[in-house]
Symmetry: C2
Subunit: 235 residues, 2 copies
Amino acid sequence: MSTQISFSANHGTAAAPAIFGHTPWTEDTAGPRPGRDRALIVGPVQHFTQDQEIYGEGDDAPIFFKVISGVVRTCKFLGNGRRQIDAFYVPGDVFGFEPGAAHNFSAEAVCDCAVIAFRRHGVEILAVTDEGLSHQMLSYAMGSLARAQEHALMLGRKSAAEKLAAFLLEWAEHSPDSDVVSLAMARQDIADYLGLTIETVSRTLSQLEREGIIELPTTRRIRLKNVTALEDLGA
Amino acid sequence: MSTQISFSANHGTAAAPAIFGHTPWTEDTAGPRPGRDRALIVGPVQHFTQDQEIYGEGDDAPIFFKVISGVVRTCKFLGNGRRQIDAFYVPGDVFGFEPGAAHNFSAEAVCDCAVIAFRRHGVEILAVTDEGLSHQMLSYAMGSLARAQEHALMLGRKSAAEKLAAFLLEWAEHSPDSDVVSLAMARQDIADYLGLTIETVSRTLSQLEREGIIELPTTRRIRLKNVTALEDLGA
DNA sequence: CGATTGCTTGATACCTCTCAACCCAGGTGG
DNA sequence: CCACCTGGGTTGAGAGGTATCAAGCAATCG
């Protein structure tokens, strides 16, 4: 066996709680998991309704979360009402694990969702002696970094059509049915994630439909009719 | 002493090499440092001339770097010649420490610079038993993440003037003389970092000068005459 | 000097934003 | 059941900001 250490997630060890892995924690058990990670959980599963705030930018609650069900967004606000969504989180994803005492972003429920909270302090303490856990934390941070960098590239150098193509392909991967994307979020969320306005999102989707690349049976369901064309745009 | 663990950089321990810290490693010694980090160094200090490639996107050299002198940029290229600069690195900064076998970005010398290389594998091995080093890696990753997120926010939701104000304030912090910024990079680098064209960068700087907010004695030196106005824009 | 390179400036085109109207589905209440 | 309201989404017209294309300028270098 090689001693090479990779940063890939989900590697785990017998001793390490899979806190950062994309494990299918369920609503009522938040497990079953090996004993230790249960001990790090702050309280019971928490439920949030659509658009409810989970924590605010600047809150210094020393806590982070894992999504059990639903979708969560993290975002920042600038003056005059501008909002930038940093990321969406789906079940199994960890969010709110940040440096410093306070949260850099606020987190809100995109749709009704359930999350479980962990005490950051407890995890950090445990990581000192648990090499697997400390490795999970690093994997998580490096993965988040790569995602944020890709996001920045998109925001800086892509057109509206290219942004939407990339966005649809990203969510197609999360979809069980690979060519029909079910969106959990409203148009405004898409716009604030892609650095566009809601009108431009709408117009661009309509244009892609006119071009035969996608189909919009309902506003929240999008059929990808020509994935190749999307990939040409989104790349 | 509290057992609280912070993610702040530069905390160090006696045993941990300060590889990720912003320590003033010098040109000829790349030290003096405690013994261990010397052992992790791949070779002698390497020199690169302006615009020379240090590594390319996709290269799988299992190596990362620390800047000794000069400035380095990491960037990605899209089709039809578009380029997005992810970050600039100044002396003391670490770059090229990424997940996966291959580099996600290419790295190039902004100006003549000197860097020192570390074997990623060696550092990872050492981090397994060295808690301080493993902590440094996490601090580094979390700090990079926060920077990338801030960058994305700027690219998505700021105007040209706001981007340039934020950019100037960022570099003012690196400047010894706090109100005169000496830029190591050309206009094209600024443009590709801010998601603009070189013409827009030039026009916007001229406009800020006409408004009395800055002064441009030479193209690479910028006097900040009204920091408050810049902060109002850049925030 | 002339050539080169990086930067600035100008004119115009294009993309996205802004503001406004309209549409549509769902919910409510008479 | 239907009129009405509401909220999200779409579409249109016009404005504005940035890109594009092109020319001019200044510093550097042979």
